[in-house]
Amino acid sequence: MMVVGASIAVLVTMGMAMVRALLGPTVYDRVLAVNMFGTKTVLTIALIGFFTGRPEFLDLALAYGLLNFIGTIAVLKFFQFGSLGASGPPPGETESG
């Protein structure tokens, strides 16, 4: 019963994150919505594992959490610097061809 309630709550939250990703006026709203959606996917996988009686896939959910974090960092770094190769603000003219 508890798992059913949690699943419904997670699905409703997924829908709300989707609304934010669709409407979001700024880029950061959408990034946050995608991050939120990844977290809800992690929770969905965990809940599916419990109500099908096979919680072995929890490690998959953990790996999703890590990937979601790294992906969000990568996207935000991309928006900040315009590329993923930069380690910080470029120190002037350092062109190497």
Binding site: M14, L22, A33, F37, T44, I70, G71, V75, S83, E95
Partner: protein, 203 residues
Amino acid sequence: MESVVDLALLGLLAVTAIAVVRVRNLVAVVMLMGIYSFLSAALFVVLDAVDVAFTEVAVGAGVSTILALGTVALVGTRQQRHAKSPVIPLLIVLVTGGMLVYGTYDLPRWGQADNPIHGHVAPEYLADHVPLAGQDGEALEVHIPNIVTTVLASYRGYDTLGETTVVFAAMVGVLLLFVGTGGRRGASARGAGGGDDDPDGAS
């Protein structure tokens, strides 16, 4: 309950797909494609295809989001409106989809033990793989403990070799493309810009 989750995930998937087609802001489209990847990964987990789900998240939501953002940074964030009417492409897609759905009626019922796919080579692989009672492992054809690894690396070894060759060739091609544009852009920036201090001028 499981079917409710399936239906909700499929509904969200449909909403995302329609939004990806309709939304004109390409950054939003990239973000929606990330959501699409997460949703289809959750569906793959529901369908017990855990390895496919893992690949879907790593490639779909991780790497291809970054690659698509790189493309958007090059081509601009607004999609241009098409003047052509979408009736004929829509008709072709609908007819093709209808034919594919019609084709599924010839397939055997889903998940039955006596389907042809379960009776062909799978029993042989399984019987050859698992050591029977009183039998030592020496009589087996393949000495790999995991059955999935056995099929991938031994029974389908040539297939996997071809796959890795294709992936390697694709990667070399992409790397060659990057090297080509980087060299040209660097040369043109040097020729046109000279010594400007703008760090974003080259891109």
